[in-house]
Symmetry: C2
Subunit: 608 residues, 2 copies
């Protein structure tokens, strides 16, 4: 048996109510590690080309990796996958921190596979190795904090050793931009997984237990962890005086804006003159009450915050993250950080992905601005760029499909299609774009275009290199070497999300450290090359499934605005994304033809 | 056949889907007129002492009267009744304007009796005499304006001759303070009828038709109408230069505050220093876009309004009424009229009674102020007197039972009971009190205490006499003659709500005018005395049913705050309500013992 794993996968059939333990195949773990890789393989084993998002056999998989809950830095994460995302139509995928991942392992399981649709609302508890489904129509409709409090009370276990993952009203109401929340403020945010969980009538999963996993080589692990901890502590980004700890991810607002890559007003601009008013510095100055970190994390980038007064008052909350400030702030033309904090709080409370929410609001605002949405469809709602109240109102309206909120719950692509103006949905594969304008940062544009889950930045995070010079500087304006770097970061991302470790360690660590720690935990013979090959396998397996859904070169593209409309102002004025010029090189390096891995490539990677 | 009636009652069984026409008994019409009286009799015929609000046989009755849709002033109204109110436990009752009432009659029916619970969401259409139930799960969840627009489109009839009554999300979610809306902005607001309609899974009733009813004596009617029209036009309140038309009902804000009867902060005060900022004058100055009236109304007290900017922006809406400004404004300590307009808009959009909503928010704010609600129950929500943002947030939270909103959806009495502090719920029989502090206005306090539907002001509206000297001045501080006057106004109110005519005509008209117009329409021999006897019969029938539910003297009481805590400041400083000293005289005059009509009284009125 490999070290670091709990050794069991829980199989839940919500239609029959049957719960089964499966033993994970050691060969699969060697080839896919855990987390995202393991989840993809579990989904692939039951794959169906004509799957629909709300079909009973659309699997919902929660998975941890050997590093989850192990004594390594940032071991508090887990991965969520769905066979088919209701937002993108591709495989659905998200990653989250907090403590739910390690607590699932301490409860005795590496992963949970959920199938079927329950007739009545249920929740799942896994306590000390014992899993149980509980019928609970009375908790349906509860917000994330309310159901978290309720189920913590019901569990009767030590609340410090218990964790809840759940959906909010947005997931129940099948909003396509809903997410799965855990520990109240943590989110597996993207691709609408909340709606899949909602369609299954599964409200929450409670985990608690004391089963710690043994590592294969404790001495080696101690040594490798010590090395990694030193690197993290000494690093200017991840260390105790680093930007992430001092200002949270919001430290990026001023940095990215100074580069002219902090998009505004639905990517009509790539620069936001009022960025300083919503920066990490401003957050620390006016709204911060403390910091918070995920389980086992030495970086501690989480923010505790509040808004003491005014129309956006909130007594206590967590966040907002950099991405959220962009999405709900700048991208909506909203400068007021208090409104962003309030809207972020609502996203957490109701279970909505903040990036997709902001991108959808921005899209709606532009559709109104351009006269594409007739006034009577807004039913009195005054929706305009730069209006903080309207932005905040959009969030709860989307969660409850209240009036125009029913349109917002569709996400930007379906919203813009409804009003015959798809060009205003700034998305890739239906998923709203993150907080780096791809026009002045060529590598991240290629990641947006090619990422398997749609408009994503963290599954191939080129930003440290392109903007911060970590581990080495790559000119953001240049396309030179970007296909290579994007591919490397994507496959590294697959490794990180399968381990599961936090992406932010990659500011300080590299493949040698990841390989060393994983080898010490599991006992697998690993080196950087072998590990990266696993990453490539994982990336290709996900791509392969998407191909079978019908995805190919056509979907590997940015919205026209980003390749045809030069940035109009700011430090990066006059730039467009050159994805169309990089994509063939990218495919060639990947061993893909028109976005589809060749049979040789699949064979080489051992994908059937 | 009597004139003025359509001559048919529609009986709808939602369980079986069966629709039947019933002919109204002429003797019943002679004894109960129509509207409230007719509805009460229909409910009484199937009365059950142990009825529960969400039982299938809790009848929901919509009823018009002979004046509805007739060529008399203010003939645009109808009445709604439920056998048992989920808010009060008494008979549920509300009255509304707009055009739905006359359009129901033009569609061929005097009333609709709805029984049973539909398995799936449905709506009812009555078009040109043909009634149909339509299964429509897809409209469940829609807001009031959204479903109104949708069903107007589906009807395919002339939208100017079509009208929709419906519930919003609050009614669907069984909020105890939900109402039934019609014509988007009109409400049969009180006693939680929206929840009864919601429990039956009936989303809306569409009415359209061209069947005008004939009056018994058209010449006499023309003469009587001309007389009433002159009186209305010449009256300083109802005329074209009168306060109601020029400033809407909000004209009362400054008048009532000047008397020290404009309660504030959950009736902790009876005076609001900032009242001028939310007055009818302020509304006209800053937020008004036009006026609007119900069908057949020469007074036109309705307001069209907007909030152009700021966090409470709304592009177009109607209202707010005086009661709403008090309830959501002053009573919550909120001075900002823009926030009140926004909250009023949400109440209309989601189908919530504004008076009960404001009273419940005020109660919650005081429970927080007094430390009765533990902070963790608020889940980060910053709920405080005087906070306009928090007040507005309460409304949509209550509609969707979002977080703490689930508590707000209970109404003030059940909310305060949940937190073991019932003394902070300022209600009578579970219904929140309206906008006249009863401490410096003795008559209205007696109406609040004795009204059959709970804390009500319009079923026995003593205010014109006590505050405005119409038809003659009665000293508001004095108890002298108040039992007599309250009884008279209650029985007159029963007549008005059964005719159905607008209460506001009573500023200008009296029993001779009502009797004359009703006689001309119906052909019944009527005079003031006979008509008032009918009113007494109606008041007593409702009282009798409530007695059978267990109501008696105990429930005919004001909250202790109003009888024991003298008004602390303002023009009326030092006053308490003297209801306990007036109640025995009231009962004696009524022919009741401890709140229960004697057998003699019931016999005298012909109530079995």
């Amino acid at each position: 048996m490999l070290g670091g794993y709990a050794g069991k996968i829980l199989d839940v059939d919500l239609e029959t109510g049957e719960l089964k333990d499966k033993m994970p195949d050691e060969e699969i773990l060697r080839r896919y590690i855990g987390g995202k890789g393991l989840g993809l393989k579990l989904i692939y084993d039951e794959f169906r080309d004509d799957m629909q998002p709300f079909d009973p056999d659309n699997l919902l998989v929660f998975s941890t990796g050997p590093a989850t809950g192990a004594r390594v830095p940032t071991s508090g994460r887990f991965h969520v996958l769905t066979s088919k995302s209701p937002l993108t139509g591709a495989v659905g995928s998200g990653n989250s921190g907090g403590k739910w991942g390690p607590y699932l392992k301490f409860a005795g399981y590496d992963a949970i596979v959920i199938r079927g649709i329950s007739e009545k609302p249920v929740y799942l508890t896994i306590i000390d190795g014992k899993a149980e489904l509980v019928e609970a129509p009375e908790i349906w409709g509860m917000t994330v904090p309310a159901v978290t409090e309720e189920l913590l009370n019901r569990a009767g276990t030590d609340p410090k050793k218990t964790s809840i993952a759940c959906i909010g009203p947005a997931g129940e109401n099948l909003s396509l931009i809903s997410c799965i929340m855990n520990d109240e403020y943590r989110a597996a945010g993207r691709t609408g997984s909340g709606a899949v969980m909602g369609s299954k009538k599964l409200k929450a999963i409670v985990v608690s237990g004391n089963q710690r996993q043994k590592s294969a080589n404790p001495e080696m692990l101690a040594e490798k962890v010590a090395e990694s901890m030193s690197l993290i502590r000494e690093n200017p980004v991840t260390g105790p005086k680093g930007g992430l700890h001092v200002y949270g991810t919001a430290v990026l607002v001023n940095i990215v804006n100074a580069h002219g890559a902090y998009s505004s007003r639905n990517f009509q601009q790539s620069y936001f003159p009022e960025a300083d008013e919503q920066s990490g510095e401003k957050l620390a100055e006016s709204y911060l009450t403390g910091t918070t970190g995920c389980w086992g994390c030495p970086i501690v980038c989480g923010r505790k915050s509040f808004v003491p007064d005014g129309p956006f008052s909130v007594k206590y909350t967590e966040g907002p993250e950099y991405e959220t400030i962009f999405a709900l702030g700048s991208n909506c033309g909203v400068k007021e950080l208090d409104a962003v904090i309030k809207a972020n709080h609502f996203c957490n409370e109701f279970g909505i992905d903040t990036i997709s929410m902001g991108g959808t609001i921005a899209c709606a605002m532009e559709l109104v601005e351009k006269g594409k949405i007739p006034e009577e469809k807004l039913l009195g709602f005054n929706l305009r760029f730069g209006d903080p109240g309207a932005m905040v109102e959009c969030v709860w309206r989307a969660a409850y499909k209240a009036g125009f909120g029913a349109d917002l719950a569709l996400g930007s692509r379906k919203l813009a299609e409804k009003y015959q103006a798809p060009e205003y949905a700034i998305n890739v594969k239906g998923m709203e774009l993150p907080a780096y304008d791809p026009r002045p940062i060529q590598g991240i544009g290629l990641e947006y275009a090619t990422s398997n889950r749609g408009g994503d930045h963290v599954y191939g995070y080129t930003i440290p290199s392109e903007l911060l010079g970590i581990p080495e500087k790559r000119d953001p304006y240049s396309t030179e070497g970007k296909p290579e770097w994007t591919i490397f970061m994507q496959d590294l991302g697959s490794v990180i999300n399968s381990s599961v470790i936090c992406l932010f360690t990659s500011f300080a660590l590299g493949l040698p450290q990841y390989a060393g720690m994983l080898q010490a935990i599991t006992g697998m013979e690993l080196d950087p090359e072998k590990l990266l090959k696993i990453g490539e396998r994982i990336t290709n397996l996900e791509r392969h499934m998407n191909n079978r859904y019908g995805f190919n070169r056509v979907q590997d593209a940015l919205p026209k605005r980003l390749t045809a409309e030069p940035t109009p102002a700011g430090p990066s004025r006059g730039q467009v994304s050159h994805v169309p010029e990089m994509i063939d090189k990218y495919y060639e390096l990947r061993g893909w033809i028109d976005g589809v891995p060749t049979e040789e490539k699949l064979k080489e990677l051992g994908i059937a």
